[in-house]
């Protein structure tokens, strides 16, 4: 149950918001998608994912609905709320600003 120690605080929230922004999906699918797109680099454990999902739902950024999936099982599908979309936009802009700055510094060559 390792914490996403490598993850910048708040980044997990942003990733989740970004993922559910594409289409409503359940926890399992989000977990898979996180692994796929980050090529296992981030190593988000399921132990962190679910509390994060519940926290985001509680904050009103995502909304959960129980739906029957294609193989006729009930699944809890998370989707982005308008409030969440606003938050995501803000965070993305923020992230771009910070990461541009940081990568600029990291790529400085020694003279």
């Amino acid at each position: 149950m390792s914490k996403p120690s490598d993850l910048v605080q708040g980044t997990l929230d942003m990733l989740i918001l970004k993922i559910v922004a594409l289409e409503p999906m359940n926890g399992w699918a989000i977990s898979r998608r996180l692994q796929q797109i980050s090529s296992d680099v981030l190593g988000v454990s399921d132990g962190s994912l679910y509390p994060a999902l519940h926290k985001l739902e509680h904050r009103g950024w995502i909304r959960a609905q129980w739906k029957s999936s294609e193989n006729n099982r009930r699944a809890k599908l998370y989707s982005l709320t308008p409030l969440g979309r606003k938050h995501l936009e803000k965070e993305t802009a923020n992230w771009n600003r910070v990461s541009t700055a940081i990568s600029g510094i990291v790529q400085l060559k020694e003279a």
Binding site: N26, D46, G47, Y50, A52, H58
Partner: protein
Amino acid sequence: MQIEQWFYSLPLRLRSFFHPNQMDQELKEELREHLEEQIRENVARGMSQEQARRSALLAMGGITQIEQRCRDARGGSLLRNFTQDLRYGFRQLGRNKGFSALAILCLTLGIGANAAVFSWVEGILFRPYPLVEHQERLFAVAATVQGESSPDVLSWPDFLDLRRNCTLCEDSFVSTIRGSTLNIGDHAEVTTGSIVSANYFDAIGVHPILGRGFEAGEDVGNDAHPVVVISYPMWRNRFKGDAQIIGKTQRLNNVPHTIIGVAPEGFYGTFVGRAIQFWVPVSMEETFDKGGYKLEDRGARWIESYVRLKPGVSRAQAQQQISAIATQLQKDYPATNRGRSIGLWALWQTPFNHAGELLPILEVMVAVVAFVLLIACANVGNLLLVRSFVRRQEMSVRLAIGASRGRLLQQLLTEGLILAVSGTAGGFLMAYCCRQLLTVLPVRKGDALYLPGAIDGRVMAMGAGICLLVALITGLVPAMQTNHLDVAGALKAESGGVVGIRSRRWIRSGLVIFQVCLSFILLVGAALLLESLQKVRSTNPGFSTTSVAVTGVSVVAAGYDVPRAKTFQNELIDRLSGLPGIESAAFAAVTPLGYAGYSSSPIAVDSYQPAPDEQPEVEYNQVGPGYLATMGIPLLSGREFARSDDENAALVAIVNRAMVMRYWRGQDPIGHRLQVKGRWLRVVGVAADSKYESMSETSKPFFYVPLRQDFVRNPDLNIRTTQSLQSTLAAVLGEVHALDQNLALYEMITLQEQVDRATSPQLVAVTLVSTLGGLALLLAAVGLYGVMSYAVAQSTRELGLRMALGADAANLRRLVISRGLRLTAGGILFGVVAALALTRLMGQLLYKVSPHDPVVFGLALAVMTATAMVACLLPAWRASRTDPARVLRD
């Protein structure tokens, strides 16, 4: 959290409170779904069913923890957690009965003392008059005089003009307090009544339960309407609840009054500090007020009045109009009203009742009980610290199985809340029982103070606020400890570990020092007040207190006219002078320190040029020949009044020293002129200053005129005697009856009794502050005892070792006591500094006592140290009984 977020989260929160099981079920289902997907994927990768399951579980981590973290992430379970914590907290407290009882007792005392004092503040100052309507629009009216610091009362003509012209006032009424002798058969006792305007009962909205109130016109004339409304207690006790009471007569100051009404139960009149027993109309003034007939005298100030403003009228607007009325009065009647303005006072600042003198006392009380509460909290904090040590194991386990620190804090705060609520409930019970305490404290027959407490919404709100504060403090103290908690270490250690010991000891020592410091301040405060009371009571009033008795004879009631009264007075003095044991006797219009107001008059003196808007006005007393000698007031120069200073002789006066200093600049005034009420008097003597209205007053200008030259029919009789009060009473009564069988005597008391009555409010204050000081001392001692016992219990190993190395019992005792005294010394050190700063604020309560009195500080130091010694004795004794062999073996 933003408002729009609530839009999403509120339904979730509500759902998790009302349907927690459903929420849990869904969470479990969600996680199971995840697990099954994982297993399916693993199987697809070629694992066996069994393998796939294990691998999936491993990948996921502890499901229970995830569930808990999800629940925590929701936060919506706040209320649910709270009820859970509540149940758990009660179980915890039930398990440690001794601890809970002690903690709740401490809080009950602390909060109870606060609630009681708040209820007194409420009952005495803010809602002083039960049953009286719209007190929030009620204001006291009094005059402010140019060049005088304290307000003065009004005259009846001034009041009538004010009532006529004040259009912003809904009602104006008079309620002047006077003492009166109540005669039942041969027996006479003093009771307290009010002289009121005829509109009194209608104006305050109080309606007699039997009979009627006063009718318009009953406040006109001289002794024209001997009617009385009696209080409910008087009707119940003295008249045994007689249903046929209306129309019967009762002698008041020996004048038969027709009882026309009985006031409702719970109505005590409108005088802060006294329960009024009867009400008579203003027209009966001369019967109850000693200075003669005053209804037509604009210079005679004796009217204690109130106004109720019309709804919506602000105090400032009303004040403006009333000031204008006063200015007009100054213009119309310069001889009596020059330099006099009229002001409004809030009821709790009423200048002419006990409100003014109780205000500073109650302020001090509020500060004192706040200290007591802090000490109680420190005690509970100490207890909680000890317990948090015991509960370290529990807390570590909770942290280990996934509770967040926030969750632990919530639990501890809930436990603090349980303690605080219990303490508050107990405290209110205590305050409820104490609400009449102030009333019963100085039980003086016929003259008890009436200082009720009132527990209403405001007091309740105050209590609730204190309760929350206490819950916060008592919850946070042990919570600080959980920050030091090292989960692994605590779980490993069996017992007696050293985790946090050092920091904990410092916190606990700090709390004890804090307690000692606060108690020391209270001790100093109580001792200062005590010494001040001693000084007030033992201060020389300027007249003898022990060998002088005061009474009065009911000649007005017996229908004596002025000439007959004069003859009677001379004859009685002659007869009394011949009696064995009676050294001298003299009549005087007013006895010092009583209710009755002195006459006062604008004065003029040749050598004194008043400022343009100043009208010097001085109070005086009408006294008979030999008055100063009888009272024991030293005559500094000149002569006393003699029998020959009568209405036919030249007008004379005796002035006091303060008057000489002020108006003659210290020059000998004998032979000089003094203008009183427009007539010129010749000064024949100078008397020493004495106390006139209160024991704590500073010396003020005052003069005497011969009774025969400014006559009143019903003066008091002062008798200097070597006999007991009983035999003096019998002797005087014998002589009075020898002159006229129909005459009766007023209550006879010594001047010492008069002084005691006048200082009873101070006695109440001192009693209360001393009681609270004692309470604080006790709480501090309990705190010190707790810390020392705990320290001894924790260091048995060290003590055993010392003993094994040769220390004897006395050494160990000294060790423990010296540590206790070190803490005490620390506390006292802070206490001295704080007390030096704080007692300055008590300045106005202290009479001839320096707020930094070294004797008082020394005394408080001794008491505090002795208390600390006692608190340390038992732990020290226990330390000395340490068995080294056993300790070292263990």
